[in-house]
């Protein structure tokens, strides 16, 4: 790991100020992607700004039909939250599949979506649930936030403060887990809202998390697994690697979408 200067702000405004002054900086949230990346010297920021001591970035609240989760809320806090379980149980079930228990004790929601790993789970949840990503500067719709592999709408020094999820009537996530890394080879999050169904896919797309309009249209008319019969995603837009080629991933998108709808309609 390259040397860096460490900063530990206690408020969002202090963190933003530090970010504005520091050259070549990165924020660290749970650190479970950034630290391994720094160890491999794929990242070597001169300044590391730790968001871990900022109390205002944590916590879970429900207001009417919206569930809001602070950016530095750790996965374990989502798992233990009766409010999340009551409002969006699919979010709890998905979080149980992130990493392993030790990783879930450190990893944060804000860190996951700021990183936008093409195999991460939370980007799919945000997209399917039509979440709003709130920063210290503005509110960004999930549709505008995720802009391709490891790329988001965030500007330099912009800090995610919270994520707001409209509460769907039905939702579920189905994940085909890579057995070693536990990332999604393919994960599909399906959510039924009052104005239609949204389907978001992670792990599969060569350009990161994406929605499947054809599935959404079919499921909006008939929210049942059979409605997906005959619908497939284009193989040439899928990732291929030593674990699964593009054709296999394209096939899995259909299978996981079906399973997610089945789980949502059973639940």
């Amino acid at each position: 790991m390259y040397a860096f200067e460490y900063h530990r702000p206690t408020s969002v405004s202090e963190a933003a100020k530090l970010a504005g002054q520091a050259d070549d900086m990165k924020f660290i949230a749970g650190g479970h992607t950034l630290l391994p990346t720094m160890k491999m010297r794929l990242a070597g920021p001169a300044n590391l700004i730790d968001l871990g001591q900022i109390a205002e970035l944590r916590g879970i609240t429900r207001s009417g039909d919206t569930l809001t989760i602070g950016a530095m809320t750790r996965y374990v806090e989502v798992l233990n939250s009766a409010e999340v379980r009551d409002a969006i149980p699919a979010l709890v079930e998905m979080t149980e599949l992130v990493g392993d228990p030790h990783v879930r004790h450190r990893g944060t929601i804000g860190g996951s979506i700021a990183n936008n790993d093409p195999s991460a789970d939370y980007p799919a949840a945000c997209l399917a649930l039509n979440a709003t990503i709130v920063t210290d500067r503005r509110k960004i719709a999930a549709d505008d936030f995720f802009q391709g592999i490891f790329t988001t709408a965030l500007d330099e020094g912009e800090i995610i403060t919270q994520v707001s999820f409209p509460i769907p009537s039905q939702a579920a996530y189905a994940k085909f887990r890579h057995p070693a890394s536990r990332y999604a080879l393919v994960g599909v999050f399906v959510a039924k809202h009052t104005d239609g169904v949204r389907v978001a896919v992670t792990g599969a797309g060569s350009n990161g998390v994406f929605r499947v309009a054809e599935m959404e249209d079919a499921l909006s008319r008939n929210f049942a697994a059979d409605a997906l019969n005959g619908i497939s995603v284009a193989e040439d837009e899928m990732n291929g690697d030593i674990h699964a080629d593009a054709a296999y991933r394209a096939h899995l998108v259909g299978v996981m979408a079906r399973r997610a709808v089945q789980a949502a309609t059973l639940g």
């Binding site: 650190g31 630290l35 730790d50 228990p101 990783v103």
Partner: protein
Amino acid sequence: MTTVSLTVNGQSVTADVDPRTLLVQFLRDNLRLTGTHVGCDTSQCGACVVHLNGQAVKSCTVLAVQANANIVTTIEGISQGGELHPMQAAFREHHGLQCGYCTPGMIMAAIDIVNRKGNALDEQTIRTELEGNLCRCTGYHNIVKAVAAGAQAMAQTPLRQAAE
């Protein structure tokens, strides 16, 4: 250098560290607590698991400075008065180890499972919950038995959360 102050196994510790020092390096190299192991150094294997504020974490993926003002418990901190923690005793009794390299992390993870899931653990729960800890010797069979027995023993023995 950055000053870090934390509590390790009940003792207050303050040191000046290079900010890139990992928690596991700080424990092993600065404090000479070498019971916590480094296996993969890539957050996969779990040999480095310690408790941070009572929760199991991979100490190869936490900076020592991130643990400032926190409470850390390592494998050295769980026995009391020379008597093994019930989970340690169960690993010995059930031969839950061969080379022993993964054992400190396994035991710290196992205690964390009991803290979260209670004392009556079925095999499936134990296997699922241990997914962040790799053992290349045992095939896990006796580890699973040891965790189940240790979990029960923890209910019977007065809780020895020495440093937590």
